[in-house]
């Protein structure tokens, strides 16, 4: 700790930080633009100028940039100094010379950092009367608007997009006051994290395009803290609602998980809740609409008859638990695919195993050697990919410390370290979007990957000297020599590391997850400390659902019970079974069942097969909890009132206590194993300020008395929310008094998202009243070591069968997630179902990227994508919807296939449906060329 004096007052600060960060941490107001807590200082904007004084005798002082000056012990600083204040106002005056002053029509207005800083600087009179510089804007795709005239050239966009997120298609171009931030030509921004530009940009250059289409000012949005449903990471978000529709999702700061950034699936994927694909009323078998009362009667009759229940990884803990209560634990079945179910059982045992620790996203960023086995995290848990991209900078941090360059000197650290990176090893079947920062990539068929991973384990354990015997002579990807080299370099990196991290996931298959755990266990023993092991499940509540299901109650068992007639009725919640099991098994079961009740908020193949379909609420319409990959339960608050006719699953199911979330959570904690600490996620009602609830509407919310005047001119009574500490109101506890439920930060003089610093104990650190959720599982046991069985690994092929390819499924960030794929902006980024083949395989079929191929023996058509890193014996298939509109159930496809060119197509006729595809080995350029 160091002591500094700012304007005569003394503060205890961290000398490892810069003055700006420390002033903000102390709650002082000091304007800035280019500095960012995650991206450090570069000294570009000159906005944070302060005076520093040599000693008490020094009356003149020196003007310095606070962001570029260490907060060293004894520093005497003045923010209020006249010269410093005048300079800061001058900087605003400069920045504003070409700014269009179009705040009234700018999406950023009202939450604009430039507005805030302008007011804070005191600059309020325009002297500049010369010509303004104007720019041409670009079409950057479905996610972001581009309005370059508003730019103040702070360089934050390129520093985030290129330096932080690894993007390559956004750059600072031209120079002097013509500096331009854009792509080399119009086109969709390629980075999976592009949406963050809307939050990183301090003004309205990059704004949320789907939001613009039904724009509302920040202060008019009804908001509540929420949790993203896009994947198993559980990033914290703030959805905003107006007039009953979801308008946008923005990042909600969480010091351990997402920090300041979301992925584009999370930011733009939630708009499915507004679409016509919602199930909005109860329907019977004939598709006739039922009143709520009729529907409830029918449901009661089914329950009386006795039904089994099928849960869902995309339904909340409460919904799943209510179903379990209703049908009984014996009759409550997994809604997961067989592969995922098995993977989750293993994942749960690892979460309880004291040999490992499960890293937060923040901890992943600090790893100094990472091995990713099989899981394409950019497409399955994108926020993890962004964190791993930061982890390779651990080496830069180390070098900078050695050279005595403070870690916040961002440009200096990068210039010093150049290409020096901490090791990141990627074992995957095809290329990934992290390959550019990987120190080792091994692309091979799944069986060979498994063998290589085992070899890593054996080599680390130091036991068997002939570990190389594990590696097959003939792999269809890397040669044996290359594989051995990869194994060697991975082992060396993991052994040398202080904070090694092993990442795997259910998409990689349970066998690889077992090896991942085994490697982590070996490392734990080597280092006498639990090794970080991140096993990533597929969906937002995969873990919560799996914790409630008995291991033997698989989906297959449920389907068999129905088709055998052992059960005649089934209640399925928020689950489309055709995504979980082969179509034939699902159809047989649902046809055999007398009663099929489906509660869901979307129309799916399964709701269409229901004898009774009941509309439930989407994630933003009811308070509920989910359990992420770490076993961390998080509460997601209700943002909007639910549409009439719909009800939360737990309300439909009507079990005791279900009408009140807290009661249901209490019951769950008492009855369900592993959920004992669940009630801790509820905000403590007793600590609320004078018993006040937390308003969902800002104190500037407008139109309250008039917004529904088209329906009725009298001012309706405000909805009462007995279920939550939050209220559908403008009135209640002020954020400044209690921010334990913090949806949308705001502070006097700070209207933008930058106001989050006012709620942090120190900038970039924990929130003063952070609700981090609760880790449900405690580590105590050593789980049984299960030897992986390589024979069951899909994609293993018999080389004797000519032309036969092992099927390996790949994921796409836009498309593989069921819910977000319905979001209109995401739909524009969907690609056709495709099969990726190596260039020789494609050549042997006489086909090129864009051609349609048929899986022999089926009518399933897939578009061909030639990917250079694909092993020769593997067909990497992205299921989804084919160019012809057929929706492909991956589980219907055999493990080994042969492909032929579809008849009746012109050679090389490209499908437009691949233009939105972005993968690691540069297929996009092919698709783009085809488009032109």
């Amino acid at each position: 700790m160091a002591k500094i004096t700012v304007d005569g007052l003394s503060y205890e600060v961290n000398p490892d930080n810069n003055l700006l960060q420390e002033c903000l941490s102390q709650g002082l107001d000091l304007p800035y633009f280019c500095w960012h807590p995650c991206m450090g200082s570069v000294g570009a904007c000159r906005q944070c100028a302060v005076k520093t004084y040599r000693d008490a005798e020094d009356k003149n002082g020196t003007l310095v940039m606070a962001c570029m000056t260490p907060a060293s012990d004894g520093a005497i600083v003045s923010i209020e100094d006249e010269q410093a204040s005048a300079f800061r106002a001058g900087v605003i005056e400069s920045l504003m010379t070409s700014h269009p002053h179009d705040c009234p029509v700018c999406e950023e207005g009202g939450e604009c950092h430039l507005q805030d800083m302008t007011q804070m600087s005191g600059h309020n009179y325009r002297r500049y009367d010369k010509l303004k510089v104007t720019h041409r804007n670009q079409d950057l795709g479905p996610f972001l608007n581009h309005e370059m005239n508003r730019c103040i050239t702070c360089y934050r966009c390129v520093r985030f997009y290129d330096d932080y997120a690894g993007g390559t298609d956004l750059a600072a171009q031209a120079s002097h006051h013509h500096t331009y931030f854009g792509r080399f030509e119009d086109g969709t921004l390629e980075s999976e994290f592009s949406g963050n530009l809307a939050e990183v940009c301090p003004t309205g250059v990059f704004t949320d395009k789907p939001f613009s289409e039904h724009y509302t000012r920040k202060w008019d949005l009804q908001v509540a803290p929420s949790v993203c449903t896009g994947c198993a990471v559980g990033c914290n978000t703030t959805p905003g609602e107006r007039y009953g529709s979801l308008r946008r999702v923005v990042n909600r700061y969480n010091s351990e998980i997402n920090g300041y950034f979301l992925c584009d699936r999370g930011r733009f994927g939630a708009h499915y809740v507004n679409t016509d694909n919602r199930l909005r009323s109860a329907k019977d078998a004939a598709g006739m609409t039922l009143s709520t009362e009729e529907a409830e009667e029918k449901l009661a009759a089914v329950c009386a008859q006795g039904a089994i229940g099928i849960g869902s990884p995309r339904a909340s803990v409460e919904a799943n638990f209510a179903l379990r209560c209703l049908v009984g634990e014996d009759n409550y079945y997994s809604g997961e695919s067989a592969q995922n179910h098995e993977a989750l059982q293993w994942l749960l045992s690892c979460l309880e195993d004291e040999a490992f620790s499960c890293p937060t996203i923040k901890e992943m960023e600090g790893a100094d050697a990472v091995l990713v086995l099989g899981e394409d995290v950019t497409n399955t848990a994108p926020r993890v990919a962004l964190a791993l991209r930061q982890s390779v900078r651990s080496e830069a941090t180390r070098l900078a410390a050695k050279a005595r360059i403070p870690s916040w000197q961002d440009a200096a650290v990068r210039e010093l370290a150049q290409e020096a990176q901490s090791p990141l090893a990627l074992f995957s079947t095809g290329a990934t979007r992290l390959d550019d920062v990987a120190s080792t990539t091994l692309n091979a068929d799944p069986a060979s990957l498994l063998a290589a991973a085992k070899a890593v384990d054996v080599r680390l354990a130091g036991g068997s000297p002939d570990y190389d015997a594990l590696i097959p002579e003939a792999s269809s990807g890397a040669s044996k020599g290359e594989t051995m080299q990869a194994v060697e370099s991975v082992c060396a990196a993991l052994i040398a590391a202080q904070e090694p991290l092993i990442v795997c996931g259910s998409h990689a298959g349970v066998e690889l997850m077992r090896v991942a755990a085994s490697i982590a266990r070996t490392l734990s023993a080597l280092k006498s400390a639990p090794c970080a092991l991140a096993l990533l499940p597929a969906e937002d509540n995969s873990v919560g659902h799996a914790m409630l299901v008995r291991p033997q109650n698989t989906l297959a068992a449920a389907l068999t019970k129905l088709s055998d007639g052992a059960a005649s009725a089934v209640i399925i919640i928020e689950n489309d079974l055709t995504r979980r099991a082969p179509s034939a098994a699902v159809t047989a079961a649902l046809q055999a069942a007398e009663q099929v009740v489906v509660v869901d908020h979307l129309n799916t193949a399964t709701t269409r097969a229901a004898t009774l379909a009941l509309p439930s609420t989407s994630f933003n319409e009811y308070e509920s909890s989910r359990v992420n990959y770490e076993g961390r339960a998080q509460l997601s608050f209700q943002v909007s009132q639910y549409p009439s006719g719909t009800k939360p699953v737990e309300h439909w199911l009507g079990v005791d206590g279900a009408l009140h979330s807290a009661s249901l959570i209490a019951r769950c904690s008492a009855e369900a194993a592993g959920f004992a600490s669940l009630p801790k996620i509820l905000p403590d009602a007793l600590t609320r300020v004078a018993g006040l609830k937390v308003p969902r509407q800002s104190h500037r919310y407008s139109g309250r008395t008039a917004m529904n005047a088209n329906v009725a001119v009298n001012e309706g009574k405000q909805a009462v929310d007995e279920n939550s500490v939050m209220a559908f109101s403008m009135e209640g506890a002020l954020l400044q008094q209690d921010a334990s439920v913090l949806a949308s930060p705001w502070a006097p003089r700070w209207s933008s998202n930058q106001s989050i610093t006012k709620f942090q104990a120190e900038v970039g650190g924990e929130l003063k009243q952070e609700q981090k959720g609760v880790h449900l599982l405690t580590r105590s046991v050593q789980s049984a070591v299960v030897e992986p069985d390589s024979h069951v690994v899909s994609g293993a092929t018999d080389p004797a069968t000519k032309g036969e390819l092992g099927v390996h499924f790949v994921q796409q960030i836009f498309g593989s997630d069921e819910l977000s794929a319905h979001s209109p902006a995401i739909r524009e980024r969907l690609c056709d179902a495709y099969v990726a083949l190596s260039p020789p395989q494609a050549a042997s079929l006489g086909a090129t990227t864009g051609d349609r191929l048929v899986i022999s023996g089926t009518t399933t058509e897939l578009s061909l994508v030639v990917r250079t890193q694909t092993p020769d014996t593997v067909a990497m298939i992205y299921p989804g919807t084919s160019a012809a509109g057929e929706s492909i159930n991956a589980l219907d496809l055999p493990h080994r296939i042969t492909l032929t060119r579809a008849p009746d197509q012109e050679a090389g006729a490209a499908s437009l449906g691949l233009a939105a595809l972005i993968v690691g080995d540069a297929v996009f350029s092919h698709a783009r060329a085809a488009e032109e």
Binding site: A44, C45, L63, S94, S175, H176, T179, A403, Q409, A412
Partner: protein, 428 residues
């Protein structure tokens, strides 16, 4: 002509009537004595001490002691072994053409200086960052480098010393900001030519993050003489606290504009009236920038000042590159300053706010003043910018350099600015 011309260690081989000396001729004239002294056993720390003692200051403009700069390069077994020498040959300062003379006139002198510098800091590789428009210099340097390499003066075993050293000639794509040493490094790495923050200084983390010395062409050309003739000889040249000789230049309406090697301490009058031949008939000297486009105006009252860093500094200006730009009584001072402002505004890299957005405003005001569209408030705005763009406020020295002619000009030509604000430029 004065007696100063006797000792011209920098330009003794230069004869504009013929091309530069080829390697053999250069060696016959006593060239490459420095590397030979190294081959005879002179150690890097001995060279460093000698350069420190000589009092050599950087000739790029800032006048920082060269030996001191070199001493910041971390040495020893624990230090980063890969070190670089970078020659700043991106001569773009308005009015400055001294490095061009050296490179076109005697390229081997620069190469010899580079070998000495590289040996001292133990850099195995050097880059000459050459202004792209210097086509003749490029041709002659490339030829000289090839000659030196063929003779074994460059390569794996320089002069048989066991020291490995080679030179890469890089021609710039052309921005004034590349003359800023850290922007130059970024440009050399293939990045945007934005300057870097200091600290860390290039001596610690420079080109590709390695310890790097960036020296000006003329600075390096001083080294062979110091090594060959010794510190005493070097210090006997020059007076007034600065040692050695310097290339001084004069441009503007003198009879014989040009560039001459003279010892420090020669008076301004001697250069302008002696070497420059005095003002052309019918023109009177009104003011001048003593060291290129980014120095403060001096007036005829200052003509008897000796040309040293200290003496010019005391007048509130800078010796900088030592190449004067003269303003006569029939050229509009507002137009002259406006022309410089246009240059600086255009050459701003666009990184920091005051420079990027302040200079274009200044430039726009000058255009208005020129066209009679200006107003008195504009002059106040110009005055504000002198402080706003000053040292310490911007990221690098470009904008503070621009404020030198602007600030001093506003003071010196206050009446003329008034006239412009009232009724446009009277000189048309």
């Amino acid at each position: 002509m004065s007696a100063h011309a006797e000792q011209r260690p920098l330009t003794k081989n230069i004869d504009l009537k013929r091309g530069p000396l080829a390697l053999k001729e250069y060696e016959a004239a006593g060239g490459y004595a420095g590397p030979r002294a190294i081959a005879a056993g002179l150690q890097p720390n001995e060279v460093l001490e000698r350069i420190k003692e000589s009092g050599l200051k950087g000739r790029g403009g800032a006048g920082f002691p060269t030996g001191l700069k070199w001493s910041f390069v971390p040495q020893g077994p624990d230090s980063e072994q890969q070190k670089y020498l970078v020659v700043n040959a991106d001569e773009m300062e308005p009015g400055t053409f001294k490095d061009r003379l050296l490179m076109e006139g005697d390229p081997h002198l620069l190469i010899e200086g580079m070998i000495i510098a590289a040996y001292t800091i133990q850099a195995s590789r050097a880059f000459i960052f050459l202004r792209g428009e210097y086509l003749l210099a490029e041709k002659r340097l490339a030829q000289a480098i090839a000659e030196a390499r063929a003779a074994g003066h460059l390569g794996e075993n320089v002069f048989g010393t066991g020291f490995a050293f080679d030179i890469v000639l890089h021609t710039s794509a052309g921005r004034y900001i590349c003359g800023e040493e850290t922007a130059l490094l970024n440009a050399l790495e293939g990045k945007r030519a934005n300057p870097r923050a200091k600290p860390p200084f290039p001596q610690v983390s420079g080109l590709w993050g390695k310890p790097t010395i960036v020296n000006n062409v003329e600075t390096l050309c001083n080294l062979p003489g110091i090594i060959a003739n010794g510190v005493e000889w070097y210090q006997s040249l020059g007076s007034g606290g600065d040692f050695g000789t310097k290339l001084f230049g004069v441009s503007g309406r003198v009879k014989t504009p040009g560039c001459w090697e003279l010892p420090f301490g020669v008076s301004i009058r001697e250069v302008i009236e002696g070497y420059g031949g005095g003002m052309q008939e019918g023109y009177r000297l009104k003011a001048f920038l003593p060291g290129g486009g980014s120095t403060d105006f001096l007036t005829p009252d200052h003509l008897d000042t000796p040309l040293t860093y200290g003496a010019i500094g005391e007048l509130g200006s800078r010796l900088a590159t030592g190449t004067m730009i003269l303003l006569d009584d029939q050229t509009c001072p507002v137009g002259m300053i406006g022309n410089l402002m246009k240059f600086f505004a255009h050459e701003s890299c666009g990184f920091c706010t005051p420079c990027r957005d302040g200079l274009p405003w200044v430039d726009a005001i000058f255009r208005d003043l020129e066209e009679g569209k200006g107003a008195h408030k504009d002059i106040a705005i110009l005055q504000d910018h002198v402080g706003y763009l000053g040292p310490g406020k911007t990221f690098c020295a470009l904008a503070p350099g621009a404020t030198a002619p602007l600030g001093s000009g506003l003071k010196l030509f206050a009446d003329e600015f008034e006239t412009h604000a009232n009724s446009g430029c009277p000189y048309h």
